[in-house]
């Protein structure tokens, strides 16, 4: 007997693979944004080095962010949002499974499928770009392994933070608004808009105490060598803590929401 969660994950994966045009347009968009960000921050970073962050590192940071866009971009699980708004969620109630897990794996499948379809072309082309504009190689093998580990945890954390938007959708019955707020907060505080190394030290200190930078800032900085192996290991521990905490809070919130839910109409 197969695991239900894996089946759900596979289903979402299959669904995502149905649309090729979506992936191609996604890649194009990511290229556009990558080049735009790099040009922008190159202009700002005239002094070459800010907080120990070089232009080469900045370019790599940006390209990784574009290549793994879907893994680091929290938001609304579109299916769940639609289900709740339209009331189709009532079917989910009539299944012998845990709703939180089901949504979690669905969203994870959606994210992974979309990342798998996009990341390779972006990585390849950005490696071919000239230095200071392209993606540099990882500093060494152990930091590359650490990068992979922290990226996986970051992706799981990204999904568990996105799960909060399901709770707020239950409360407000609108998926757009809640998703927008959660995306805005986590993108800003997670370093997706301004790379965290470019922020003032005082701000960085505060962000270290929030979960958001462990989604993508940590893996990317391990990759470019901005965070060393020892530091990296400690911070991976912190990100694991956040992963468990956000999942627990999410589960409690969804449980609370389900108790109050009223399916209206027809």
């Amino acid at each position: 007997m197969k695991n239900i969660n894996i089946s759900i994950f596979k289903m979402q994966f299959k669904k995502e693979l149905q649309y090729r045009a979506k992936a191609i347009s996604g890649i194009t968009t990511q290229f556009f944004w990558g080049i735009m960000y790099i040009c922008l921050y190159t202009a700002f970073m005239s002094s070459e080095l800010i907080n120990g962050f070089t232009i080469t590192q900045m370019a790599a940071y940006i390209w990784l962010g574009q290549a793994f866009f879907s893994l680091r971009y929290p938001g609304m699980h579109s299916n769940a949002g639609y289900e709740i708004e339209q009331g189709n969620v009532c079917y989910k109630f009539t299944r012998p499974i845990n709703l939180y897990n089901q949504w979690y794996y669905e969203y994870l499948g959606e994210k992974l499928a979309s990342a798998l379809l996009r990341f390779l072309p972006i990585i390849i082309i950005s490696i071919l770009l000239p230095t200071n504009y392209g993606l540099s190689m990882p500093v060494n093998f152990s930091s590359f392994i650490l990068f992979i580990v922290s990226l996986i945890i970051g992706c799981l954390l990204c999904v568990s933070i996105s799960m909060f938007s399901i709770y707020f959708t239950f409360v407000t019955l609108s998926q757009k608004g809640t998703a927008t707020i959660i995306v805005a907060i986590s993108n800003l505080l997670g370093g997706s808009i301004i790379p965290i190394p470019l922020m003032p030290n005082s701000v960085q200190n505060v962000l270290n105490f929030l979960p958001f930078r462990y989604i993508s800032d940590l893996p990317f900085r391990i990759y470019i060598g901005n965070i060393g192996i020892t530091d990296g290991l400690i911070q991976i521990g912190i990100s694991l803590f956040w992963l468990v905490t956000t999942i627990l809070i999410g589960k409690i919130l969804i449980k609370k929401a389900l108790k109050k839910t009223v399916i209206q109409g027809g």
Binding site: M1, I4, I8, G87, N88, Y91, N98, G266
Partner: protein
């Protein structure tokens, strides 16, 4: 036969914000909200035997869907007790729902973007159905509903009728003991409707599935159910066989008569004239008088020269409309 569903004193209240009307009311509504309590279900009591097909009928907003939702574990009632198949649906949801199937005619449980068979396979994993059992069940459903061609196509490419067939099959993959159908024939053409009806009957026969069905199509009720529960304004108004109700109105006949030439002031003792136009007149039997074709023909042919006539009983829809009127719904 054992009782599979028992509802005792179930009540359900909804709290909804009350909106005032007026030019600036949207502002005051924004700051101060008044809530109104709506009694959706008021002391509902009934029981259903295993293997029954029960029609659950009532006008729009009577509380049908609310009841179905409580029965399928989606809603928690405000008060009252309900035991279905040995479980309290909303308390032990996960164990309970293994043995029920639900189809909401206006919603979809299958995945929109992928072939139907993929949805089925996911359902198979969700319900932990073994390979052999799944194959066997799918085979039965396939034959009964003619699904073969549909299974490889994504749901979004199917027509409404094809979709409904797939939804029905999807809700039965795990061979539930109880099947809830909320308006399963809504929007379907005549052929598909008949197919769905036959299928529901078939399933009830081969698996002894208890089926609870809400619908506004009275022909569904007539063709399928052996018992109806009529609900209105949150209360149960009638609980029994549909034939009983039909008997009550069996005496009422509508007779249309065509004359050879137009008459003025058509009148017949013992019958009510409903309409009269040129040479066609329509009569109705008076309350609870039995209709005899012979005596009617005798009487009318003595007075008028008739070419043709037809006798009609009340249609099931008319009977229901009459019922609603009687109960002031």
């Amino acid at each position: 036969m054992s009782k599979i569903i028992e509802f005792t004193n179930i009540c359900k209240q909804f709290k909804i914000p009350e909106k005032k009307n007026g030019k600036w009311s949207f502002l005051s509504n924004f700051f101060k909200r008044k809530y109104k309590i709506i009694q959706a279900l008021d002391n509902i009591n009934f029981s259903i035997n295993e293997g029954d097909i029960v029609g659950y009928i009532g006008p729009n907003g009577a509380g049908k869907s609310t009841t179905i939702k409580i029965m399928s574990g989606i809603l928690t009632p405000t008060s009252g007790e309900c035991i279905i198949n040995g479980y309290i649906p909303w308390k032990s949801r996960k164990e309970y729902v293994k043995n029920i199937g639900v189809v909401f005619g206006q919603r979809s449980q299958l995945w929109w973007d992928v072939p139907v068979i993929d949805s089925f396979e996911l359902l198979k994993d969700i319900y932990k159905i073994s390979d052999e059992e799944y194959k066997e069940t799918l085979n039965i459903l396939n034959k009964a509903l003619n699904l073969e061609e549909l299974l490889s196509r994504p749901l979004r490419q199917l027509s409404l009728g094809q979709k409904m067939k797939c939804e029905l099959a999807g809700s039965l993959l795990h061979k539930p003991k109880i099947l809830f159908l909320d308006e399963p024939t809504i929007g379907l053409d005549a052929v598909t409707k008949l197919a769905v009806r036959d299928f529901v009957k078939y399933i009830n026969k081969v698996w002894n599935t208890t089926i609870i069905l809400t619908t506004h199509d009275m022909n569904d009720i007539e063709a399928l159910t052996n018992k109806i529960i009529l609900i209105g304004k949150g209360k149960i108004l009638y609980n029994g066989s549909f034939d009983n109700i039909k008997h009550q109105y069996a005496n009422e006949k509508i007779i249309q008569v065509e004359f050879t030439k137009p008459y003025e002031n058509v009148y017949l003792d013992g019958y009510e004239l409903i309409s009269h136009e040129k040479n066609v007149a329509t009569f109705k039997t008076l309350n609870n008088t039995e209709f005899h074709t012979k005596s009617f023909l005798n009487e009318i042919s003595q007075k008028y020269d008739i070419v043709d006539f037809s006798i009609n009983s009340l249609s099931v829809d008319e009977i229901l409309a009459r019922l609603y009127k009687e109960y002031k719904l």
